[in-house]
Amino acid sequence: MDAGLNLALWILRLAFLALLWLALALMARALLRDVRAATRDPAAMLGRLVVTASGGQPVMGSVFALDAVTTLGRDLGSSVVVDDPYASANHAVLTFRGRSWYVEDLGSTNGTFVNGAPVGGLTALGYGDEIQVGEVRLRLERGRG
């Protein structure tokens, strides 16, 4: 009986440890799947612009994926066409330079604003900042999400 009890104890002890590791392995598998899905994600990109306020085009709530150099303006050749009466044809340009995003005004008539402050020269941007071109406001967000 004593030997049987001992054997049962051993089995339970080892089963407990094995099950703890099984639970962890299941979590690890879920993590791995998540990582793989994220690398396959076509939405993986440098950043994106979300329109937070707009009078006409682009429509509020629309999202633009950003290239390393992204131009904004009324010109149809712009990466993000801002069809706003107060926007210039070539209004502003966003550039990604190694570490972070920068915005530069291209000599527009009404100026470009970051969080309400006018942009003079090359200005660094943080994710979450709001850029205003004409009456359209766009928020810079991290890509993927």
């Binding site: 339970l12 440890l17 979590m27």
Partner: protein, 475 residues
């Protein structure tokens, strides 16, 4: 009650969120539950010689609590992380088993009509922690009030700390606990969450400046513009000053490490971390020269056997416990022999739970617990990587770091890898404030991982067969 009003043209937004199944979370929680049940069986078998659960009611209540938390998240219908809760439940469950196994009279408190021992109290706090975590996860919709009131938060944290200093009661020679009526708590646990919120908000606001407007110090070595670091440095100095005077060295180490980690994440410059570590070395040397209790800690760390019955007692006993445990441990209930009617390690339930795990579950068990912390840290960093702006990213990463670093500091202390400092093992240690603060961390992380309600399913494409038939009929 819910869903799209299909009868009238435009879809009506659901007034009540549509529930969304979380199969992955349910599966992982079930796995954790089964493992804990087997652990409880092994404890029961050792104690009574019969195949029964050690504390069936306690375990059932814990499982029920987890299930309720899961159901609340399902009903909330948001796309929230599904791995964080099971990982925390894993650690909480191992802690609960440990508290049920330890002598119940280590801590006894009367709660209403019941007199609860160690296991019962831990279960109660775990329940409250689950409540806090799910409430925050579901209720924290906007990060605005965390971000905007950062100085208010910082001030509140400091006031809390100062209150402990003035009104706190002394336990083991340091004033860490504050008592309000029957409830006592350790504010430094809560302060770690507040500090991370403040650091994240401040660094996110000034990240671009700190990273790019560098000031040359010496040749290629550059530092962030120091005036912009001043508020955060002042906050850090105040917090460190108070906890050092309170002799809460573990908290001081944790705060500083989290600060360095977040600074590195914000600026991406290794040189900041190196300079920070140099500053730390200087500060630590100064502290050791000024305060005798810091010297004592270091002496005990270097050679606990110099005074094995006095200052080195707990550490020597902990090392013996790890040695007795070996690879797979002695089994739950079979370790920790009592010396003269008391436990070899007096603070086993707060500062040394890892030693108890090491003795009864062995190295395999200790590594499993440490791996669970890795899972939580990975989740936090992943949430940070996919969050939409700097504040949310820094907040998620900082919260993950706080849990991971705290586990690393106390585990290293228990194993005599670094000087021992009295902080808790997150989710495992006994104690309300520790569990609540870590529940807050999990809750905020869950809220940050929120990707909104599930998008409505696109309308089913019309069946081709029917279309063709209609076309033929109209012709």
């Amino acid at each position: 009650m819910t869903g799209v009003d299909a009868g009238r043209g435009a879809p009506v937004l659901p007034a009540f969120p549509r529930p969304r199944a979380r199969p992955r979370e349910l599966g992982l929680l079930a796995g954790v539950g089964v493992a804990l049940a087997v652990g409880s069986l092994s404890l029961g078998l050792y104690r009574t010689g019969r195949l029964e659960l050690a504390d069936p009611a306690g375990l059932a209540l814990y499982a029920a609590g987890l299930l309720v938390a899961h159901l609340v998240l399902v009903l909330a219908g948001r796309r929230v992380d599904e791995i964080l809760l099971p990982a925390a439940a894993f650690l909480g469950g191992v802690g609960l088993l440990l508290m049920q196994r330890l002598p119940q009279d280590l801590v006894v408190q009367e709660v209403g009509p019941w007199t609860l021992g160690l296991g019962g109290l831990q279960l109660l706090w775990l329940g409250v922690a689950l409540l806090v975590a799910t409430t925050v996860a579901v209720g924290l919709r906007s990060d605005r009030w965390l971000r905007l009131y950062k100085y208010t938060w910082a001030a509140a944290g400091l006031v809390l700390l100062a209150l402990t200093f003035v009104f706190g009661s002394e336990v083991n020679g340091s004033r860490l606990t504050i008592e309000i009526g029957p409830v006592s708590g350790q504010p430094s646990e809560l302060l770690k969450v507040i500090l991370v919120v403040f650091f994240a908000a401040y660094l996110a606001e000034n990240r671009v400046l700190l990273a790019d407007a560098r000031v040359r110090l010496l040749g290629p070595i550059s530092v962030p513009p120091l005036p912009y670091l001043a508020p955060i440095a002042a906050m850090l100095a105040l917090a460190l000053g108070i906890v050092v005077i309170q002799r809460d060295l573990g908290a001081a180490l944790l705060f500083y490490a989290v600060f360095l980690g977040l600074l590195f994440l914000a600026t991406g410059r290794l040189i900041d971390v190196i300079l920070g570590l140099l500053l730390f070395a200087v500060g630590f040397a100064a502290l050791a020269a000024l305060f005798p209790h810091v010297q004592d800690r270091i002496a005990v760390w270097l050679d606990p056997w110099a005074d094995p019955l006095g200052s080195g007692y707990q550490l020597v006993q902990a090392l013996h416990a790890f040695a007795r445990g070996g690879l797979v441990g002695t089994g739950l209930g079979a370790g920790l022999p009592e010396v003269a009617g008391r436990l070899p390690i007096p603070a086993v339930h707060t500062d040394f739970p890892l030693a108890a795990i090491g003795e009864e579950l062995g190295m395999v068990g200790v590594v499993a617990v440490l791996a669970a912390y890795l899972v939580i840290v990975e989740r936090g960093l992943r949430i940070a990587a996919s969050s939409r702006d700097d504040f949310r990213a820094l907040l998620a990463a900082g919260l993950a770091l706080v849990v991971g670093l705290q586990a690393a500091i106390i585990a290293g202390g228990n194993l005599k890898l670094i000087p021992l400092t009295g902080i808790t093992l997150p989710f495992v240690s006994y104690g309300g404030s520790s569990l609540l603060a870590n529940a807050l961390v999990v809750g905020i992380l869950l809220a940050l991982s929120d990707r909104g309600p599930a998008p409505l399913r696109p309308p089913r494409p019309p069946r081709l067969g029917r279309l063709r038939r209609r076309g033929e009929a109209s012709r």
